[in-house]
Symmetry: C2
Subunit: 256 residues, 2 copies
């Protein structure tokens, strides 16, 4: 088994940010500056065309670390961030830009290319989780969550279906075509987001993916707005979801 | 205009609870024990067969008062709580029990009877709001929210459509038959809850009612479970919704 190699670190407003590599994979681990010995871990998958330190990733990591004391890890997906693109990556990205410029639906290209990336990314995430659980402050056997929208869902759904260590997940903003099958094998609690006026993903497609999860506990959050207009308060909701499912003491229940 | 007459009061753990009457209508006003001079008001509608001090009402009121410093008011709906039933009420309630015992769908009776109750309740709520806004600690012109599920939605949707003083509303768990029309006249922010496995309200019916609201900002929360299994964390979500929309300073936004 490979081990994490930490390459740089900074601390800002209570959050320790440590860059690492695992073989060829660059990643980042955010942790509370101080706190109890061990804490739950949330794996975060970034969206297509972005990378592990995209503002949405650093913002969500800060909420999870400062709000719940979690460790949060993100790795660059294949062909993204600091990682090289293959010839196949280049062809698919060119095809996506061509479809977009021609006013054709992006869905067929995104679904196909993200499914390909997921095949490469799932074993990388599993090796990363192995290595993260070697760290004393995380450890094996503790609670693990997964949080990823868009391409982060395309990778996260098959990862969560394959990985019994992940016990709660936040997904959203993707099509059911390649994901309904692994979703039907997921039974852990899920929170799923879709946009009611998504110009790429039809309402019925988003609802079908939500419906596919076999989880006894699952929640759908629909908001008005287009694909990229997910409200910022959904990140706060994800933090509360992970607090409910990963922390040992439940949040005091409110009467409904 | 009639004035509120306060008839009894208690204080418990920071929440002042004052019973009142407005003519024939019995109500309750929950307020913070201490706080700033004026604060926003949330009107709460109770569900069918319950009353103004049902545990769900007192629990939600406590969350809103202690979490946000709001005033919260609930009145007994016509034929409910401390109010007399008309012969029409008795016939409809008997018909509901008959349908239930016969294993017939409850929807047709509930939709029809709740629409009748809403016609009686909307002017009562408007008179109650007039009187509440005469109180120095609420005042006219301040923010007003409405929060009601089930029958509280059947009354609250036409109330909110008719009442420009209501600027944000939480609804859920009802059919579109009588409510889609007034919903199409509602433009204020709405949070709407439905149950994915509701044995009374088909999924398509719940989604159609959500879709009908003309609000630019609306959020749908779907959870697994049957009609009465709405998770308790949805009450916490409603508190945050009202905090975002009724408090002058927005909650610090989190990065998505």
């Amino acid at each position: 088994m490979q081990s994490l190699r930490f390459t740089a670190g900074t601390t800002s407003e209570g959050v320790v940010e440590r860059d690492f590599t695992l073989g060829e994979i660059p990643g980042v681990l955010w942790s509370p500056e101080s706190g109890p010995g061990r804490a739950p871990l949330v794996l975060m998958g970034h969206g297509g065309g972005t990378h592990k330190k995209w503002p949405a990733m650093t913002g969500r990591a800060r909420l999870l670390v400062t709000g719940c004391g979690f460790h949060v890890a993100c790795i660059d997906s294949p062909g993204h961030g600091d990682r090289p693109r293959t010839a196949h990556d280049e062809r698919e990205i060119a095809e996506l830009y061509r479809a977009r410029a021609a006013g054709e639906p992006e869905g067929p290209v995104v679904v196909r290319y993200n499914a390909h990336l997921a095949e490469r990314a799932v074993p990388e995430w599993q090796a990363t989780l192995d290595a993260l659980q070697e760290l004393a402050e995380i450890g094996a056997g503790g609670p693990v969550g997964y949080y990823g929208l868009n391409m982060g869902t395309a990778i996260g759904v098959p990862l969560t279906a394959a990985e019994p260590r992940i016990t709660a997940a936040v997904f959203g903003l993707h099509w059911p075509d390649a994901l309904a099958e692994p979703a039907r094998r997921i039974t852990v609690p899920v929170e799923f987001a879709l946009q009611w006026d998504d110009e790429h993903i039809p309402r019925a497609a988003g609802l079908a993916l939500f419906d596919a999860f076999a989880s006894k506990e699952k929640t759908l959050h629909v908001n008005t707005g287009r694909h990229k207009e997910l409200p910022r308060f959904e990140a706060d909701s994800a933090v509360r979801f992970f607090a409910r499912h990963l922390l040992p003491a439940p949040v005091p229940p409110a009467l409904t």
